[in-house]
């Protein structure tokens, strides 16, 4: 009898286990560590990533980006597009519809008035809203009914997904923040520290620059989530200590942004308590090629379009430079899990990623040599190729950084193998990236033959990023050496693509244009992409459901996190 009871209850427990896992608050407590401590829960009052991410536990936008950079409806029913009529044909309005039955954590209903209020809060003329650029060009936001919001732009906006999308512009409760508009915004400490949200958690105690204690939101829209009853977000320390607390000691379940050397992380992971995860955004380490002559003898006109480069204007040379590089090895040495070889200057989001250039992943020294031979560059007595008295001798500059200097040394050797002489130069990062028109060593002036640095773009829309390489963006004395077109590339076809994208609203068409621009730059070897650099975080082996996302808050899907049994 007794044995039967035990067995029966065991069976019952087994049968109940999957149910129990899907119940709100059944998995106890989760510990999250951010080695930079959040100072507020209100993302509108801080530009810092840490505050955005902490706030995303509580406050939610209408739509988010998933791990591939695609938009997913969050508080909205669906993503408005020109096809479903949500975006007007002239690209000046976008109409969002809220999911029905949404409740704030205090039980009151979420309405379109809250959405309108969020816009008013951030664009108040007296208030310094950190995310106001998200609301650029918005002329009005109206509530058409309780669940419908119409955003009108002052200009035609091909990409109208700035307002209310992503962790930077969530919806806040009108009732709670009604008295906190404009200059009074920072004074509403209670509201800023304990905002009433729609997210999976509510703040139970907020200690600025230290620890945030949270508990599950009773009114969260999915009754089975979140799996954790309570959560702690601890701030402070450094990346190494945070990594150790998850990977080596297991005190914490999740650690954010671990920028550590690959072998250091590998050593920590060897302890077996957790896993290093990485996700990739748009940051690409690349070599820019100067199409103009940087010779100091040209004086004021050096590095301008008046003087084309003596040999880098030959595409065969540029292609040979790219062929000689082993990108996989560079990743292995410099970034480990935090990098992957890249053949595109626009590596993400997924819909913009071209696959036309993947041949570059393979190093091919012989092909590079043959290419140069066929183009008439013959090796001289010193092993350096030359044609018509022009020697293939390159000055290669970058900022001072241990990984970059290792890259330089390796690439110099590879280029040496194909008969190209390289001189290395490294410049202090604050000077190199300093944009000071008085300094000759900035990356804009580019008084070298090739230079290496990393760049990315904010958000998911590549329009302004891709327009960096239009003719008018070339730095020159006339523009006080400002501009983003470091190679001084100038092509009418490319400029036409840029102009076309500025008036195209359809996402698929925009993706096609962006890919075409990327392919044009890659296939003409105007720049040589090397490494796609990602973000690295770590979670314990017992924490499930983590999907690292570089386009939105890393905690974007915290409602799905659960304890692995």
């Amino acid at each position: 009898m007794k044995l039967r009871t035990v067995l029966l209850s065991a069976v019952a427990a087994l049968a109940l286990a999957p149910v129990a896992q899907a119940e709100r608050g059944s998995d106890g407590h989760v510990n999250i560590i951010y080695w930079q401590a959040p100072s507020t829960m209100n993302p509108y009052l801080s530009g810092g990533t840490k505050e955005l991410e902490a706030g995303s536990l509580v406050l939610e936008p209408l739509a988010r980006y998933d791990q591939d950079g695609n938009m997913v409806p969050w508080l909205a029913e669906s993503i408005p597009t020109t096809e479903n009529g949500g975006v007007s044909a002239d690209l000046t309005t976008i109409t969002w519809k809220l999911k029905p039955g949404l409740k704030w954590a205090d039980g009151s209903p979420v309405t379109s008035k809250d959405v309108v209020f969020s816009w008013k809060y951030c664009t108040h003329p007296e208030g310094g809203c950190a995310q106001s650029e998200k609301y650029n060009d918005v002329s009005s936001v109206e509530a058409l009914d309780d669940l419908t919001v119409k955003v009108t732009f002052g200009i035609s906006k091909p990409f109208p997904y700035g307002p209310f999308v992503g962790a930077q512009s969530p919806i806040i409760q009108a009732a709670q923040f009604a008295d906190c508009l404009g200059a009074k915004a920072p004074e509403c400490t209670e509201a800023n520290f304990n905002p009433i949200g729609t997210g999976p958690f509510v703040v139970s105690e907020f200690r600025p620059n230290d620890v945030i204690s949270l508990k599950a939101n009773e009114n969260y829209r999915d009754p089975a989530k979140p799996a954790f009853a309570t959560a702690t977000l601890k701030g402070g320390g450094d990346a190494a200590a945070a990594g150790r607390s998850v990977l080596e000691t297991g005190e914490f379940d999740y650690a954010w942004n671990l920028q550590l050397a690959p072998d250091v992380l590998a050593n920590m992971q060897a302890a077996g308590k957790g896993k290093v995860i990485s996700a990739f955004g748009t940051l690409v380490e690349r070599i820019m090629i100067n199409l103009t002559n940087p010779d100091a003898a040209l004086g004021e006109e050096r590095g301008t379009k008046k003087h084309p480069h003596p040999f880098l204007t030959d595409m065969n040379v540029r292609k040979a430079l790219s062929l000689a590089i082993d990108r996989k090895l560079l990743v292995e040495i410099g970034y480990g899990d935090a990098g992957r070889p890249s053949c595109n200057v626009l590596p993400a989001p997924e819909i913009y990623k071209s696959t036309a250039n993947d041949g570059c992943l393979k190093q091919d020294v012989e092909a590079a040599k043959k290419l140069l031979d066929d183009a008439g560059w013959k090796a001289g007595a010193d092993g350096v190729r030359a044609k018509d008295g022009v020697r293939l001798s390159i000055l290669y500059q970058t900022s001072t950084n241990a990984v970059r200097q290792d890259f330089q040394a390796l690439i110099k050797q590879w280029w040496g193998e194909i008969g190209i002489e390289t001189e290395l130069r490294n410049i202090d990062a604050s000077v190199f990236f300093g944009s000071d028109p008085g300094s000759a060593d900035t990356f804009q002036k580019f008084f070298a033959d090739v230079e290496m640095y990393a760049n990315n773009f904010d958000g998911t829309d590549p329009e302004s990023y891709m327009s960096n390489w239009s003719c008018k963006q070339a730095p020159s004395p006339e523009t006080q050496w400002q501009g983003n077109n470091m190679p001084r590339y100038c092509s009418e076809e490319y400029d036409a693509l840029v102009a076309e994208m500025a008036k195209t609203g359809d996402l698929k068409e925009r993706a096609r244009l962006a890919k075409a621009m990327n392919d044009k730059l890659m296939q003409e070897y105007i720049m040589i992409p090397l490494v796609d650099r990602g973000r690295v975080s770590a979670h314990s082996n017992t924490l499930g459901g983590v999907v690292l996302n570089t386009w939105d808050s890393e905690l974007w899907n915290v409602a799905d996190w659960h304890r692995m049994k």
């Binding site: 072998d263 090895l329 040495i333 290792d406 330089q408 040394a409 390796l410 050797q413 001189e423 000759a440």
Partner: protein, 305 residues
């Protein structure tokens, strides 16, 4: 030899040069002797080593990276698989060459200005204010300006490595002569009032002869000491410049650059910091000991005691 022994005692004394005495005194300073031995060893190793150890200091063998000591690489390899021993030799050549040349430049400048200031009263004020001016110059901004102004011209004229070598030697030279000048001036001022100088002046010795015959030999001792200190100082300054990325190209090994590159790997491969660090500190220490020994040996009042 036998002739010599047979000649009278007095004559032998007379034939002995001053340098013999100096050497005798120097020999009694154990530290100086050891330092001298080590310095010669470092010089020989750095300049003859590459003829024995044939691996190219800049050759990257990526499969052999991060290796410990082995027969193929007695001191191991760095994070790109370059041979540490070969890099130490190559780095030593540059660091020592920079040290010695920059010291020579600083010394001649310092001595010239010191002697002139001390000997010719009319020039004293101006020259010493000039020295003050240089002492007050902030070194780093000055370096930045000089490198920005002259790097490209020197690079085209002499090539990247020689160009930077000239620039660095020049920069270190013109920013470290002031102490020598001050010390020399002080000694010259004191010497000038001594009886033998006044005596020779009374028989009409012209200033240039006075300086070369009477003043300079007597201020040799402080000059020698600041020379040795100058070498040490120049090696350290070159290391610091490499640290800031202002020195030689990043793949061109110098001791300072080797040290800088290894700091990132301090935890895993401490020996990589050890070798260049040891080379710098032991060389500087040995040079300082030589200086100490020379000071004693060159001072006739101490000599023979």
């Amino acid at each position: 030899m036998t002739d010599r022994v047979q000649t009278g005692f007095e004559e032998t004394r007379a034939a002995r040069s001053q340098w013999h005495d100096v050497w005798d005194q120097f020999k009694t300073h154990r530290g100086a002797l050891l330092g001298m031995g080590f310095f010669v060893f470092v010089l020989v190793a750095a300049f003859l080593g590459p003829y024995v150890w044939l691996i190219d200091a800049q050759y990257i063998d990526i499969r052999a990276r991060n290796q410990g000591p082995s027969l193929a690489h007695p001191l191991g390899t760095d994070q790109l698989g370059r041979d540490t021993l070969a890099r130490l030799f190559a780095g030593g050549q540059v660091s020592l060459a920079v040290g010695i040349t920059a010291m020579a430049l600083a010394l001649s400048l310092g001595t010239l200005i010191g002697v002139i200031a001390g000997y010719f009263k009319r020039l004293d004020g101006a020259l010493m204010r000039f020295t003050d001016l240089f002492l007050a110059l902030p070194l780093l901004p000055l370096l930045l300006v000089i490198i920005m102004l002259f790097r490209d011209t020197l690079r085209t004229a002499f090539g990247p490595e020689t160009g930077i070598f000239i620039l660095i030697v020049f920069v270190i030279g013109i920013t470290s002569w002031m102490q020598t000048a001050r010390i020399v001036r002080g000694d010259v001022l004191a010497l000038k009032e001594r009886d033998f100088v006044i005596a020779s002046r009374s028989i009409g010795t012209p200033p240039h002869r006075m300086i070369s015959r009477h003043i300079l030999p007597n201020v040799l001792s402080p000059i020698m000491v600041s020379a040795t200190l100058g070498i040490a100082n120049a090696i350290i300054t070159e290391s610091a410049l490499s640290f800031l990325g202002l020195g030689f190209p990043s793949d061109f090994p110098t001791w300072g650059r080797l040290l800088f590159d290894s700091t990132d790997h301090l935890q895993q491969y401490p020996e990589r910091v050890l070798w260049p660090g040891l080379a710098i500190s032991l060389t500087v220490l040995s040079v300082n000991y030589i200086g100490d020994g020379l000071r004693d040996a060159l001072d006739p009042r101490i000599r023979g005691r």
